[in-house]
């Protein structure tokens, strides 16, 4: 026996910027249903206590230490013209790497500043638009799916806050049978410190369509903390094939919070990749729902922490339907005093027979001050299943290192190769053009810093 005691705390999180008036202002020019939805969400936010470490799902992420909402301002419309020459340099640089795409969307501080889509796809009925435009263009879809089935405010404090205060977001619709050869690329930029930016993503994929979506969120290092909040809703109809990729490359000072849910119907394939390399604190909640027989979700994750970065990935695989499969692989390397929390659960609901569900979390500690906590959970309520999970925490593979060094590689290079090999397994399972190169480059940069610090304690 051991004890966990839950203590009541006063309701927190209502500030000079984040309050009911702000919600009303945000909804001022919106349709009635949306205004009501925002207010409903705000009510949930006020009623939900700020998560504390007494809550199992926040056990290792102490918001009272890591997040300071007081004093943050709501991100304002940057009023940037739709012209790359007016965009921040790093944003333009990233966009230039993403030329090959079915379409682009650029957001600054939660406000969409640019959208383009290949005319061919537009003629086939594909929609890539800001959420605000989508409310005009496809009101029935937005009303049906926005913060309803996937990431409703009832899910938690941050989900409620986002549903109440989102400024804009991304809407992608792919009609029945349409297949996109190139990915849709979204770049989201955060311009500075001291702000709270709320963005949503809604992807609706109709029967038998195929689409890849790459979201990249980034910023410079921030002089004061900003909250970067995202809600991601991905709905895949029967036989649809969807890949969702999130690259988080925010600067230090950012608190990144992303709540994601994927709904996969019969025979749909809905794969995700979450890469966390930036921000000071990053919390990702990802829930995959396997709702139809034959549905399949590969869930991949990769993180590399250094400095005092804190990553918290909270995943769940809900097998509601029978004969569905899910396979999760999250791998991370942690340097300096960085810290990662992986918490994952496979839930096989009663009747979900013939489920195949797997979950693996592997961590590499590169420094004596780094820390990794791993909580891979299973809850199985059907008997005819194949489920397993595994978690490891360890240090660099000395044998591999020794082998490489015996072949004449200097130690720093050998280390880099071993770490890249370790993390590369994740990328090799979702080899989307541009993503692998970009992530590899960021990791290599971090490894150069690591080698310079010489902090590795390989015996």
């Amino acid at each position: 026996m051991s004890d966990t005691i839950v203590k009541d705390r006063p309701v927190e999180g209502v500030t000079e910027a984040l309050n009911r008036d702000a919600v009303i202002a945000q909804g001022a020019r919106e349709p009635e249903w949306l205004r009501e939805r925002r207010l409903h969400a705000w009510g949930m936010y006020e009623r939900t206590p700020m998560p504390s470490t007494r809550l199992e799902e926040w056990r290792y992420t102490d918001l009272s230490r890591l997040l300071q909402l007081d004093g943050m301002l709501l991100a304002e419309d940057p009023d940037i013209p739709d012209d790359p020459s007016a965009f921040p340099a790093q944003l333009v640089e990233t966009m230039n790497e993403d030329r090959d795409a079915a379409g682009h969307l650029v957001e600054v501080d939660g406000h969409v500043v640019h959208t383009d889509l290949s005319p061919d796809l537009a003629s086939k009925g594909v929609v890539l638009a800001s959420l605000h435009d989508a409310i005009e263009m496809r009101p029935e879809l937005v009303e049906r799916y926005l913060a309803t089935e996937a990431v409703p405010p009832e899910e938690g404090k941050f989900q409620a806050l986002n549903a109440a205060l989102w400024t804009d977001g991304i809407f992608l619709f792919v009609p029945r049978g349409v297949r996109l050869e190139l990915p849709v690329r979204v770049t989201r930029w955060i311009s500075g410190g001291g702000i709270a930016a709320f963005s949503r993503t809604l992807i609706v994929a109709e029967e038998g369509c195929q689409v890849s979506y790459v979201d990249e969120v980034l910023s410079d290092d921030l002089e004061s903390q900003s909250l970067v909040s995202s809600a991601v809703e991905v709905i895949a109809a029967d036989q649809a094939q969807v890949q969702y990729v999130s690259l988080q490359r925010l600067g230090r000072g950012a608190f990144h919070q992303s709540a994601q849910r994927t709904l996969a119907s019969r025979d749909a394939t809905l794969d995700t990749l979450n890469v966390s390399v930036g921000a000071s604190v990053a919390r990702v909640d990802l829930n995959a729902q396997l709702l139809g027989p034959g549905a399949n979700s590969d869930m991949l994750g990769l993180y590399f922490g250094d400095g005092d970065q804190h990553f918290d990935h909270n995943t769940s695989q809900d097998h509601v339907a029978d004969h569905a499969a899910s396979d999760l692989l999250y791998k991370g390397a942690l340097d300096d005093a960085s810290r990662s929390v992986f918490r994952g659960i496979i839930r096989v609901h009663p009747g979900a027979q013939r489920t195949d569900a797997y979950q693996t979390n592997r961590n590499l500690l590169l420094s004596g001050d780094a820390r990794a906590d791993s909580l891979p959970n299973l809850e199985i309520e059907a008997d005819d299943v194949r489920c397993s999970h595994g978690a490891t925490v360890g240090h660099l593979d000395e044998e591999a290192l020794f082998y490489l060094m015996s072949r004449g590689l200097e130690k720093a290079k050998a280390e880099r190769l071993v770490v890249l090999g370790f993390l590369g397994e994740v990328l090799s399972r979702l080899p989307l053009g541009g993503v692998v190169e970009k992530v590899t480059r960021v990791i290599e940069q971090k490894l150069v810093v690591h080698s310079a610090n010489g902090d590795t304690r390989v015996a």
Binding site: L365, L366, G368, E379, R386, C387
Partner: protein, 471 residues
Amino acid sequence: MPKNELVEGLELDDYKYDFVDDVKPVFRTRKGLDEQIVRDIHAHKEEPEWMLEFRLKALKIYEAKPMPRWGADLSDLQAVLEEIYYYVKPQDQMEHSWDDVPENIKRTFEKLGIPEAEQKVLAGVGAQYESEMVYHSLKEEWESQGVIFDSIEDGLRNHPELFRKYFSTVVPIADNKFSALNSAVWSGGSFVYIPKGVELGTPLQAYFRVNQERMGQFERTLIIADEGSRAHYIEGCTAPVYSTESFHSGVIEIVVGRGAHFRYTTIQNWSNNMYNLVTQRALVNEGATMEWLDGNLGSKATMKYPSCYLVGERAHGNILSIAYAGDGQHQDTGGKVVHAAPHTTSSIVSKSISKGTGRSSYRGLCKVYEGATGAKSNVECDALLISDTSRTDTYPYIEIEENDANVGHEATVSKIGDEQLFYLMSRGMSQEEAMALIVRGFIEPIAKQLPLEYAVELNRLIELEMEGSVG
């Protein structure tokens, strides 16, 4: 294929310990719990004053702590705790010879095969009936070498300094709600001291029996295995089946000295009206090994996570856990290993079987503190599901602060394969026999570690349970 002799010899009742003995207690406290009852227990035991203070402090802490909101469903437990007897004294004094144990009680233990086992294979035997140890004996051979194997009360009385030095240092009062409750009302259990370098060739065994309806048993065991010693302690538990719930909450504290080797085996086969909430923890010093072999077969709800705190260099912890959850049972079990020194190693192997509406949950902790360089830990959990209404969960906590460590956890969930079953049946086995064979194969790695009589018992239980499983 010859018919299994074990199956043929079976009686048809599911739980062979379901018999009630006609034993009138010499004293019991009134139902429920308050300060006066704690004082009454203390007075009856003629303890030193510091123990009263300890008990009263524990009562306050117990009352202040909320019920756990995780693990087994304890929503009805508060009502049970208000209706039970916390202290039931079955006889006036503890005996050291079977001949002196009252006939009725002796018959109970004879049915359980205790005197016979003592003669054959044990170094010492203790038997607890309701709240008190009614019998304790140790073979002369070991007594002369300075081994102490006594009731916990005699430990406090006869070895006050040793007792006080270690009592409640491994499991403090406030560790959890039920360690606090035990600290307030503890009665019975063993006090064991194995002197430096002494190696016990055969096990010590304690047997725990609850006979009376609405009874709470709160034994407390303190074991000190001094440097370089080696011993094995076995406990078994049974109770009759009543329509009302009973409650068992033990606290086991073990200090394993430098280079010592200690194994603690529990085979819990409480009746399925028993709440079984137990805290078992060992402090493992330099170069020492602690092994927990934990079998949870009975009870309505069990919450029990034997722990090894590896505080000395090269200390080793080993936890083998086996759980069986049949209809209406929830086994929330597992183990904890805490690595707090360099080159400490640990292993947890857990096997669970769930059948009918049974639920087994593995809950475990592997923690490696910064500085525990070279620590290694491996956890393997396998769950077998027999019915589509059974449930299994796995909740490991892995907390690693040291980069020079290797920690792994693996868990699998499976059902009995149709192909396997079909193959065995094509060889002439009935479906029930085939299932029993597969289940036995599944738990074999742990069962083979058990003392023989318990291994036989486990097999018998599996065969009984498989009989009803083919629908």
